[in-house]
Assembly symmetry: C2
Homo-oligomer: 431 residues x 2
């Protein structure tokens, strides 16, 4: 069940693991207190990087698309968490409308949709699928690789409510990250729960806002554990007016890269880390592993090839990149069969429900793994392996490492909650 | 993982299973609505009997003592449910005081206590054990069969609060069913949560009150599913002033037995069941499988042997039996390796977290299995097997049967919630 890991996890991470295990009741209480004041996102997945000397989230997804990568053993946890989520939001609900990505025939993604339907059906809801694609004008069956099928239906918008023909949901669950913009049909929904909220979509959301919130929380959390927040926090900077095709914003990129690399170098020196620091430069909005490059030297940014410019300039749904995040690169020192691997943790409501390794044999330890060639190996998050084993030698126990991953992933989830509060256009402001 | 079951499950139960599966969203919604109005017991275990023609709870335990019989795979579900429970009751809590049974050196029971400590530790609490036994005057280590140990400490009662030396808990969790009476040290606790409440203990609780509440709920639930409530409800009667040693109350027992057997006979006739009806006569308060007999003919009750009188007259902690429940006997037609088996479902808060079969090769299908010779086989409640598989042939799918067991067990849990409300001595009455 536990994938064979070749890890060089010594020093700071083992200390972190030990401290996290020893502080388990304090950590869980800290989360409980956070959730008394803040609302967790409906569901979240977090990409983590474990460098041995540092463990940090590098991407927090509020429209997770890989539920199919969780093992069947993890399903009861997901169903139980979904029951808890529904009970809070809409206990009297009968119907859930799920809006998946449009235009996709990607069979992995469709299996994710099927898995979500299964989870929310088992949790006790009638689940149907609605499409944002105007080309879907009648119920349309889509075949799945396992021989089953899904039916996607056109949305029906009445004045106050969104539904399908003969189907009036209490909650509308988006599994569409709205990269293409905010669709008219979803605007001004006040009688139903639309989750995640529209401003969680990439049309509005910015990674830098997320990591700013995460940085604050990492500091608070590090204080609780008596450690350096850098051990769990990836440094970052922002450039606001970049146009890769025309070369605009190159100065900002270069100077920010310089400053950021200098900061990382100082930290590496402090911890005696013999690596060469690097940055990940990526679109501040967006996902799907598009528009991402590794930068080892600021000069690389001044001298981009046409191919890189093109690659960096456009992301999913043809959206142009104008805002950029420069993020401290966290190398991954986890391997599965010699391929670079990074853990991805899945959560529903406040609960860790599973996870997997994203593995990519075609990529280096300092590169984005969410790229062609990626495959997925379930993490032994479920079963007893999710639970920490006190007394095991630090770094030697997969369950303890997975518990640590769950803690850092939940920290990123709390950050997403703060981020969504701070960016909520409908928030009431008390002054 | 799924124990080999030899079952003769045809007819009504298969129809029930099918109806339960088809009605999954309606059933889960029904439970959600119940939990909006009522508070689930902190934890519950329910003994079920599946007769093929009928599935019914026969005992609902509010101080479950077999958490050690759940497999490690089921633990994450228990931890997640415990987190949900704590969050509702006392989110700011650091400490949980667990009060186990006194005087017990039963190593199975001690493993149950160790498992509870583990579950609540993992859920994020500092857990320590306090004893009601006045002989415990200093922290006392108790060795466990697995080589680990537990430390049990004397309770410290200050005016308003219960704790241990240097340990002030927010919640006091009883795993002691208070058969011996309500201890003075637990009275008038108003600043802390004492769970389950004192009136859930056998010093106050009565099985007939529970099954009266269950009967009402079984009727409501059967209406939802459009079926005969008898298929899930064991008939019962009550005798209030029985003294087995002196022979008092024999008339009540005999006449109630006569009436009850006649009712069952009519039902058997209605469904074409070719069995001989029987009753289980047991103490209306109490547990541990003590003071229980099978009655096939009312005459047996008039003509009890001295041995049976002695057996029936005293239960756990030497308490005399004066109130008796006569319960419709539900034969079990589940077998593991040819031994009679009955499912036991474990719940924390409102969630099914696991279960097992109680198996007893020395007992018949119409006898109490909670007796010397009993062993425990984990039910495949956890893993994906907890989740129903739509489309499977009724009666042919273990997961579907387990889902059905979880539904009926939860129905008994809702009944316990109603029962505790109705018997709450501190309840505010609105007239």
């Amino acid at each position: 069940m536990v994938p064979h890991l070749i890890t060089a996890l010594t020093g700071p991470i083992n200390e972190l693991e030990q401290r996290i295990l020893e502080s388990l009741p304090a950590i869980e209480r800290w989360f409980r207190l956070e959730w008394m004041e803040h609302t967790p996102p409906f569901y979240t997945s977090v990409d983590l990087r474990n460098a041995g000397f540092k463990l940090a989230p590098v991407d927090t997804n509020l429209f997770p698309g890989g539920f199919n990568n969780l093992t069947p053993e993890m399903l009861p946890l997901a169903v139980q968490a979904a029951m808890a989520a529904i009970e809070k939001i809409c206990p009297e609900a009968k119907n859930l409308l799920l809006i998946p990505e449009s235009h996709t025939r990607n069979s992995f993604y469709l299996l994710n949709v099927a898995r979500l339907v299964e989870i929310f059906h088992q949790a006790g809801l009638n689940v149907r699928l609605g499409s944002l694609d105007p080309a879907v004008t009648a119920p349309t069956p889509i075949a799945l690789p396992d021989g089953s099928s899904l039916t996607i239906e056109p949305l029906v918008r009445t004045r106050g409510r969104i539904g399908l023909k003969g189907f009036d949901p209490c909650t509308i669950l988006l599994n569409n990250d709205l990269s293409a913009g905010l669709p008219e049909v979803l605007s001004d929904v006040h009688q139903q729960y639309l989750l995640p909220p529209l401003h969680a979509g990439w049309a509005v959301r910015r990674k830098t806002k997320h990591f700013a919130a995460y940085e604050e929380l990492a500091k608070k959390f590090a204080k609780l554990l008596g450690m350096d927040p850098w051990l769990i926090n990836p440094l970052f900077a922002h450039c606001g007016e970049v146009n890769f095709t025309e070369g605009a914003g190159a100065d900002c990129l270069a100077s920010n890269a310089e400053t950021l690399l200098a900061k990382i170098r100082r930290k590496y020196k402090e911890y005696g880390i013999q690596e060469k620091p690097f940055l990940i430069v990526k679109a501040d909005a967006g996902t799907y592993g598009m528009g991402i490059m590794t930068v080892r030297d600021p000069k690389e940014l001044a001298d981009l090839s046409r191919r890189t410019r093109n690659k960096m300039s456009v992301i999913k749904d043809g959206q142009e990149v104008s805002e950029v995040i420069l993020q401290e690169g966290v190398p991954t020192y986890e391997r599965i069969n010699e391929a670079a691997a990074e853990p991805v943790v899945y959560m529903i409501d406040r609960y860790v429900v599973g996870g997997f390794y994203r593995v990519n044999a075609e990529r280096g330890v300092d590169e984005n793994l969410n790229a062609p060639g990626a495959s997925f190996v379930p993490l032994a998050f479920a079963g007893s392996n999710q639970l920490p084993k006190p007394g095991a030698k630090p770094g030697a126990s997969a369950p303890n490492r997975f518990y640590m991953y769950g803690v850092i992933a939940r920290l990123a989830m709390v950050a997403a909650s703060y981020e969504l509060e701070a960016t909520d256009p409908d928030a009431e402001v008390y002054e």
